[in-house]
């Protein structure tokens, strides 16, 4: 009964075009924000931070990034893992070169470097489309992983070939390294998520986003109505890679602490993030979050139920996870090709009319 426009009068254009037009939605949004910033940091412990909250937040950033490229601009990419690796290694090099600088700067710069690399690998998208592009981005994936494996400069000539996050701070608070508090990790990631989601939302509903969507829907027609495909595609690659790079930097420095490129940023990671945006919903900010939450929570849930609850061996649970993920993707594509975001939209439509649907 609360969930409707009635009585919620808009008196300016600004109000008319706001993200959450319903008062109920706005209240929900601010509640989530307050809980996320003011409640969760005080109650979070190491298990929840490491198993659920931090991976969810980081994958949400990566999914946002890929969703901008694939969902909004229509350029399918299988190179997300490779771009995350660029972010991670850029962050590592910056962290070890300039130990005094705040982590915030490192992470943002790592995103910027990834954006440059992303533009470079985005160049072929001007000639290549669809599947061909998806396969071409595999070149980025394999080449980047190989590069970080083979050139010792990237991992500072360490004997193991791994990169390890040294202890770095933001305003005097330790955010990386083994001595980090759970709440610090969580808050650091949360700030990035909120800022980036805000950027993504506003980019995608502005001129840039409309150009991307025009290119996605039909690139020739878009070109005819005056969208420059070069600029639109390359900005999509740049922004997307910026997001993915930040996700990679956080994934390595905050979440993993130590990373080996083939294992942490392999082709599996690219697919994982692609699945997130398919299950969540292509071309939707909310979908990126929903997909990330789903793909992070489901293995945790399965593991708790099968291994913890039923006492099955872990490898069985792992196989079942594959089956369920694969099956769900197929089911989603058949039943709801627009993912969880579409379900959410339908729910909202229903809610608006409830309890008198006619």
């Amino acid at each position: 009964m609360l969930y409707r426009e009635a009585g919620d009068f808009k008196t300016s254009y600004q109000k008319d075009s706001q993200t959450f037009p319903l008062k109920f939605d706005r209240m929900g949004y601010w509640t989530v924000m307050v809980v996320a910033f003011l409640v969760v940091p005080f109650v979070i412990n190491d298990y929840w931070a490491n198993a659920v909250a931090v991976p969810f937040l980081i994958y949400a950033i990566a999914a946002l990034g890929l969703n901008i490229l694939t969902g909004y601009a229509g350029q399918v990419s299988l190179g997300t893992g490779g771009f995350m690796a660029v972010g991670a290694y850029a962050c590592y090099k910056l962290m070890t070169m300039f130990p005094e600088v705040s982590m915030l700067v490192h992470v943002v710069l790592a995103g910027g470097i990834t954006a440059l690399v992303g533009v470079l690998f985005g160049l072929p998208s001007l000639r290549i489309k669809g599947f061909y592009l998806a396969v071409a981005t595999l070149a980025a994936q394999f080449f980047l992983v190989w590069l970080f494996n083979k050139v010792p400069w990237f991992y500072n000539y360490s004997a193991s070939g791994q990169i390890n996050a040294p202890e770095r701070t933001v305003f005097g608070i330790i955010v990386t390294g083994p001595n980090t508090e759970a709440w610090a990790k969580y808050l650091f990631c949360l700030i990035f998520v909120v800022v980036l989601a805000w950027i993504a939302r506003n980019l995608t509903r502005g001129m840039t986003g409309r150009k991307w969507m025009a290119i996605r829907d039909m690139d020739i027609a878009a070109e005819i109505i005056g969208v420059n495909p070069l600029m639109a595609k390359l900005t999509a690659f740049a922004v997307s890679s910026f997001f993915v790079g930040i996700a990679g930097a956080l994934f390595f420095s905050i979440y993993l602490g130590a990373a080996e490129v083939g294992e942490a940023f392999g082709i599996q990671k690219s697919f994982l993030i692609l699945f997130m945006i398919i299950i969540g919903g292509l071309g939707s900010i909310f979908g990126s979050f929903a997909g990330a939450a789903f793909m992070v929570l489901m293995p945790v849930f399965l593991k708790n139920v099968l291994v913890g609850g039923l006492g099955w061996p872990t490898d069985l649970a792992a196989h079942l996870e594959f089956i369920i993920v694969g099956g769900l993707i197929v089911v989603f594509l058949i039943l709801e090709p627009h993912g969880l975001a579409q379900l959410w939209r339908l729910t909202k439509e229903k809610l608006r009319l409830w309890p008198f649907p006619h």
Binding site: R127, V135, L138, A139, K150, I220, P313, H319, I329, L333
Partner: protein, 332 residues
């Protein structure tokens, strides 16, 4: 002849053989893509699944043994019999046909008319499903596949070519299995071409590839053709699985050959069977020669991981439809 040149020739020959194996996987892709416009990412996992099933049937493994043991607390592993290779291959082929039918019935039928990219993603989901299912059914350990194919290098060739070079050259080393694979691939391609040219079903298949609606209007059953094509692709996957499995054991990495087949397809063009073969050979030779001449001496090796993709990427920039693909014409 100088030794260096002889080594280069040897590398080229081995590259050709590896290329044939890539082409085998790519062939399965082309078959499905031509008939249904679906880019079947699951082809590699199908090869893995086929090889696993073959080994499982051959050794008399109990399917889902691990799961059964975990749920009921029993200790079952094997039925205790050995199935002859030929019979096991036939049974596996039946399993692949069954699989094709299930895929058509429960997945493809519901996705008719969806954009290509959705279908592509559905096959990725399918690949994940099969990977988990195969592991659950037959266990995830590395298995040895032995259907009586010859193994090891050919001593005859080595002895008879050693005189070509100097002290450091011991003759060309070529795996016997690669030679068998080449012969099998040639037979397979010839029979596929013959099938699609001279049989009723083959002609129907080509009609569907040409135009779905026109084929429907002259009474070709689309669904039957899809089952047929997926079965054929399953059979090709079985052959590829046998070859790769005999070469390097049946294990998870087998499914990654699908990724290697992608650049092969891009080079050759998605719609062309000769393209798959030529593309496979180019990639096979290209990556081996590049590794030998440039990768290993100057770049620290393991360039095979990305060379194929880079080559395909550069190639596509100049010719987006591949070597033999149909020209892409876009209309607004």
């Amino acid at each position: 002849m100088p030794d260096q040149l002889l080594f280069a020739i040897e590398v080229t020959m081995n590259g050709l053989m590896a290329g044939v194996l890539y082409a085998l996987v790519a062939l399965g892709f082309v078959l499905i893509f031509k008939a249904s416009g679906i880019f079947n990412y699951a082809q590699g996992v199908m090869a893995l699944f086929a090889a696993m099933t073959l080994v499982g049937i051959q050794n008399g493994q109990v399917p889902f043994a691990h799961l059964i043991n975990a749920v009921f607390g029993t200790e079952v592993h094997h039925f205790g019999w050995h199935v002859p290779a030929i019979l096991a291959i036939l049974l596996t082929a039946c399993v692949m046909v069954l699989f094709a039918w299930i895929v058509e019935r429960y997945v493809l039928k519901h996705l008719v008319g969806q954009p290509d990219i959705i279908l592509f993603m559905a096959t990725i989901g399918l690949a994940y499903f099969m990977e988990g299912f195969g592991d659950l059914m037959w266990g995830a350990d590395i298995k040895k596949l032995d259907v009586g194919l010859p193994q090891g290098g050919s001593f005859w060739l080595e002895e008879n070519t050693a005189w070509l070079g100097g002290e450091g050259f011991y003759g060309f080393f070529i795996d016997k299995l690669d030679m068998v694979a080449t012969v099998v691939a040639a037979i397979l391609v010839a029979s596929l071409v013959a099938f699609s040219q001279y049989t009723k079903q083959g002609r129907a298949m080509r009609a569907v590839a040409d135009d779905h609606q026109a084929a429907l209007s002259v009474g070709v059953s689309l669904r039957f053709i899809w089952v047929l094509v997926w079965s054929l692709a399953g059979f090709v996957a079985l052959v590829a699985g046998i070859m790769w499995g005999a070469k390097s054991g049946v294990q998870f990495s087998l499914s990654l050959i699908a990724l290697k087949a992608l650049p092969v397809l891009m080079l050759g063009g998605f719609t062309s069977i000769p393209g798959a073969i030529v593309g496979g050979l180019i990639i096979g030779v290209g990556e081996k020669l590049f590794e030998f001449l440039i990768g290993a001496p100057f770049l620290g090796g393991a360039t095979e991981n990305w060379f194929a993709y880079m080559l395909a990427l550069l190639f596509l920039v100049f010719r987006p439809q591949g070597l033999f693909g149909e020209k892409i014409i876009e209309r607004v």
